[in-house]
Amino acid sequence: MAASQPTDSPDASAVEVELPTGPSRPAFFMAVAAGIILVVFIAILATSDGEAGFARSPLISKPAPLILGDSIDGSTFDLDAERGRWVVVNFFSTTCVPCIEEHPELVAFDEEYSASGDASVVSIAFSDTSTNVRDFFATNGGDWAVLAEDTGRYAISYGVAAVPETYLVAPSGIVTSKFIGGVTKVDIESEIARLTGSAAAS
């Protein structure tokens, strides 16, 4: 007690002289400030969609990034030339199992809608070779534009993380939807119906 006396006394007397309310006042303000900061941080963390991460595509409602290149059949595909119809942009690779599983769905979708000009499909191989891609289409069917060489730039500009990923581009050239993982004919149909329904209603 005697040892602590000299160190305590100047502090205690100082607070006594200048702050009649007692020594707890600055500590109280500090505690309140720390409490406010803590609450703000908790609020920010609780409301942020941090876990959504890469699932949220910033391309939705934006003009579709350019796709312009040679198809494996030698013709040139230009996404801008497809204005006026829905375009299903499918990123795939020949070795990915969900891609093989979803392929018949795309074939069915294409057969129903491409002849009428309502919709078209374009496939873009991700990190693959044109030989493999040709074999893949010969085996699994599908008669639409397929880009196989030097396609990394398209995948990156659409924000592809892992195949399969499918993007739906409206007749206006705006990206409306992103499907992560395998897609079905019904998925695409119901999405187009939802979008055209809401467009007609508004």
């Binding site: 007397s13 100082a14 991700f126």
Partner: protein, 169 residues
């Protein structure tokens, strides 16, 4: 005009500030495209990996992003253009660096604010302590010491060993 202590502090402050200014203005050695690709790929998160950068990961998408960065650097795009393009297609989760605006900007500003307030608080507390610590003797102190001295001086007639040293003065 100024006390010696103030002059020393001002000199220190000037030296620190000029060192900061010089270090920000100095340009490093010219960066090659290879350097830019490497440092850029360290700034982006691999979208399919947990906590790895594009530079570290061997995932297919990381390789493709590296190749795309390489292509854009060779095309003469600036670091900022490349970053903006990747954020535009993947969203800001891909950018590993904290952004300077919005709530994330607090990462940069909060430490500075806390430091300024901390120093200000220390300064005011020290000043208060110094003001409350009277180094000059009060009248009561002087009286007390005088009384003790007198007592001691009268006790000296006993030639006590304890006080002999003081008595010599």
């Amino acid at each position: 005009m100024f006390s010696r202590k103030t002059v020393i502090w001002l000199c220190l402050l000037a030296a620190a500030l000029s060192a900061l200014v010089v270090s920000t203005q100095l340009e490093g050695p010219p960066r090659t495209n290879e350097d830019r690709v490497r440092s850029l790929s360290e700034d982006f998160a691999c979208p399919t990996c947990d906590g790895q950068s594009v530079a570290e990961s061997n995932a297919v998408v990381a390789q493709e992003i590296r190749r795309e960065i390489r292509r854009q650097v060779d095309d003469g795009r600036t670091d900022e253009q490349i970053t903006d393009a990747l954020v535009a297609s993947y969203n800001e989760s891909i950018d590993l660096r904290p952004r300077s605006g919005g709530v994330v900007g607090l990462v940069w500003t909060l430490p500075v604010i806390v430091m300024v307030f901390g120093f200000a608080a220390l300064w005011s507390v020290f000043r208060r302590w110094r003001a409350a610590d009277p180094r000059s003797a009060t009248d009561a102190d002087v009286e007390l010491v005088a009384a003790l001295r007198q007592e001691r001086a009268s006790g000296l007639s006993d030639a006590s060993d304890e006080w002999s040293e003081d008595a010599g003065r």
